[in-house]
């Protein structure tokens, strides 16, 4: 009996690992359930030409702005110099961090919370001595800012955008005069809450989160499932 249980465990375990590889290879159900994170081996699958950091800014009813990270009690740096918020690549969890800071501090009533992405070209990540070996020009780093998401004072999502590099890639394509002309002639379509009643997220996050990826040109629509991680 014990032997049969062991064989069953071996078969189930190896079957699950095998399914993970097949699912990942064929992009078939690889993001269907959180358990798939434990079966898909996509380490270092992404990359970016820009280093980015996230800032949480709250705006009080007086118009004053408050930087919420680093939190007044300090920040934990899990894997290097970056804060916890900086690893929120889909901009999904930062609002909880903002609300936690607001819940545990004294402040005026808040009317808006912004998730701001700061990006700079990775060419500037070279230390100075390597920069001098690579370039004859002076190092002149510039940060680009991009409001990734806007929430109201209660943490309800008001506006959400792609990350900056994806937004810029789209901008470069969409600013093509031919596409601009075609778009201006397209017929507008208005839909009100097409997903009402479905399992929408807390904080008003829509099911059709407009996240897309330059390497996988799949347009998210109002009827699509939630954005994949």
């Amino acid at each position: 009996m014990k032997r049969y249980a062991a064989i069953a465990t071996i078969v189930i375990y190896l079957g699950a690992l095998g399914w993970g590889v097949v699912s990942h290879t064929l992009s078939l159900g690889h993001v269907s359930h959180p358990a798939m994170y434990y079966l898909v081996w996509d380490m270092f699958c992404g990359w970016s030409g820009y280093e980015s950091r996230h800032h949480l800014i709250a705006q009080g009813v007086s118009g004053e702005h408050y930087l919420l990270n680093p939190a007044p009690w300090g920040e934990f740096k899990p894997y290097g110099p970056a804060y916890r918020t900086d690893y929120d690549s889909f901009g999904m969890h930062s609002i909880r961090i903002a609300q936690s800071v607001l819940n545990h501090t004294d402040h005026e009533p808040i009317q808006q919370i912004f998730l701001v992405e700061e990006s700079w070209s990775k060419r500037y990540n070279r230390p100075d001595f390597l920069w001098r070996m690579e370039f004859e020009e002076e190092k002149d780093q510039m940060s680009y800012f991009h409001t990734r998401a806007t929430y109201n004072g209660d943490g309800m999502l008001m506006d959400r955008r792609n990350n900056w590099t994806t937004a810029m890639a789209h901008h470069h394509v969409a600013s093509d005069p031919r596409l601009v002309k075609l778009r201006s002639h397209s017929r507008p379509f208005f839909a009100v809450s097409p997903n009402a009643g479905r399992n929408s997220a807390p904080n008003g996050m829509p099911n059709a989160a407009p996240i897309s990826n330059a390497s996988s040109p799949i347009q998210q629509t109002s009827f699509a499932e939630p954005a994949t991680p």
Binding site: G20, E51, N125, L130, E137, A169, H172
Partner: protein, 513 residues
């Protein structure tokens, strides 16, 4: 008919030999000791932040949300989260010494997986996933059958006096959990290779070059240095993927086992120097311990018995504290599960008191809660402005000049050339960029333009290369390649054209005459 009978029997024998052989589980014992040791240190650093990262009172970041499961696992209240987290740390400690090994492993598996799933920002990574798998397999194995408090008690019950010595204290058990662990490692590498195959920029070295320049992990000096020579990355990328694919097939071969494991260990060690990873390679080294066999331990013991000096001292330095620790805990373990549970409860209570004393949010301090301070309005305005134009110079990763190209990437070996040389001036670009008008000029130190070439780098291009055959008419001296993107100068590279060699000069004169 005979063949029909033989084949299933052969398969079944092979299956039984592979999975149900009985061995002393030294490999699993080493995983049991090393992995929780690494994670105990790592997770202890998160202990002051438990309420913030994992509880309903803070800001958890569950991975399930990214998959569209909004309430997949319940959030614990702050106090409960602290208690459960403290229990997890204690179970890791008991796993290291092998006290109630399987129960401890099962407890760590449940709690560690729960906590890491609740914090996808600063606790959940692929190495935490590996660890969850390991704890599951440890809980299925008899990993306490050697080098553990469990085994020590077992031996003392049998009346053995030198129970904790290195000699003959293990008990042979079925190896199937260890085999699953070994297969797991091979399948992970195979899956990682599939990921790389699906990433075209992996093979051109571009993805790796940008990772080497990323600063979200720890200090990575070698990575930054390597990013200067992207041509080196191309063969390294191919070697890595070939090794990853073949690992699961080759590591069982007696001759190739050690070379494959050594290459793997080097590979993971290099990720520390090049990518700044620390815990990831340590977790992988711990997993590699699963490949240690009885023969390896016997070989090591024989070697240590023969040798005296440095290696033996190191060996004793590593083993003696652990042996003493087991000896110290063994008397406690005699009281059985009462002592085990008592220690868990006592330490958890201490943990709760300690956590209250830390008071992360300053809720119980005389000065009261923290107060938010307004930020500089100018800075706020700057940060809330969305930038939609990228400076031309920020689209350039590097401007390389060289005579040799490997995998489409220029190898820079020096800045001195001679007339007649074929050289490449290569602009390496950073995405995203629009379709770019790229121009390259060759200018003498007197400001005279000797050549001007241009072209279009498409938005998907990572590089644009200008090929030159340096004409014989160029006099020796300093020259500059000037790179322009969209008509704006973004980089210069100075090169030197060397004096022609004397023989060549004489030949030229003779030819001219």
């Amino acid at each position: 008919m005979a063949a029909n009978r033989l084949i299933p029997s052969a398969w079944s024998n092979a299956f039984n030999n592979f999975f149900f052989d009985r061995q002393i589980p030294y490999g699993m014992a080493l995983v049991r000791i090393c992995l929780p040791l690494v994670l105990l240190v790592e997770m202890s650093m998160r202990w002051p932040w438990v309420v913030e990262f994992y509880s309903a009172d803070g800001a958890p970041a569950p991975i399930a949300m990214a998959y569209g499961y909004w309430e997949f696992l319940p959030f614990l209240p702050g106090t409960w989260a602290v208690a459960a987290f403290t229990v997890m740390l204690l179970l890791m400690a008991s796993l290291i010494v092998g006290w109630n090994s399987r129960l401890s492993a099962a407890g760590v598996f449940v709690l560690y997986t729960y906590f890491t799933m609740q914090d996808s920002l600063s606790s959940l990574t692929k190495y935490s996933v590996f660890s969850s798998h390991m704890f599951l397999l440890l809980s299925l194995s008899e990993c306490g059958a050697v080098w553990s408090v469990d085994r020590l008690i077992e031996l003392r019950r049998q009346g053995m006096t030198r129970a904790s010595s290195w000699l003959g204290e293990g008990r042979a058990v079925e190896v199937w959990p260890q085999r699953l662990l070994q297969l797991f490692i091979g399948i992970v590498y195979f899956g990682a290779a599939v990921t790389k195959m699906q990433t075209p920029t992996y093979f051109s070295g571009d993805q790796m070059r940008l990772w080497l320049l990323t600063n979200v992990n720890h200090w990575n000096p070698l990575g930054e240095l390597l990013s200067l020579q992207p041509a080196l990355l191309v063969p390294m990328c191919y070697i890595a993927i070939i090794w990853e694919i073949t690992f699961v097939f080759m590591v069982w071969n007696k001759t190739l086992r050690v070379p494959f494991l050594v290459v793997g260990a080097l590979f993971h060690f290099m990720t520390t120097l090049t990518l700044g990873l620390i815990v990831f390679p340590l977790v992988c080294f711990s997993l590699y311990m699963a490949f240690v066999t009885e023969e390896d331990v016997r070989w090591w013991r024989e070697r240590m018995a023969r040798r005296s000096g440095f290696l033996r001292s190191v060996s004793q330095l590593l083993t003696t504290p652990y042996r003493l620790l087991l000896e110290a805990i063994a008397p406690l373990a005699r009281f059985g599960n009462v002592a085990y549970v008592g220690i868990l409860l006592g330490a958890t209570a201490l943990g709760l008191v300690g956590h209250r004393a830390i008071d992360l949010y300053a809720a119980n301090t005389p000065t009261g809660r923290y107060e938010l301070q307004p930020m500089d309005p100018q800075l706020a305005r700057r940060m809330l402005r969305t930038d939609t134009v990228i400076r031309e110079q920020d689209k350039l990763l590097s401007f390389d000049i060289g005579k040799l190209m490997v995998g489409g990437v220029v190898v820079e070996t020096g800045k001195t050339f001679k007339t007649g040389d074929r050289i490449h001036a290569q602009a390496n670009l950073i995405p995203p960029h629009e379709d770019l008008f790229v121009e390259c000029q060759l200018v003498s130190d007197r400001g005279l333009i000797h050549d001007q070439s241009n072209g279009i780098a498409m938005r998907q291009d990572f590089r644009y290369t200008f090929n030159y055959l340096l004409p014989e008419t160029l006099r020796a001296g300093d020259y500059q390649f000037i790179l322009k993107l969209n008509n704006q100068e973004v980089a210069r590279q100075t090169i030197k054209i060397a004096e022609p060699e004397p023989e060549t000069a004489e030949e030229s004169v003779a030819l001219a005459e």
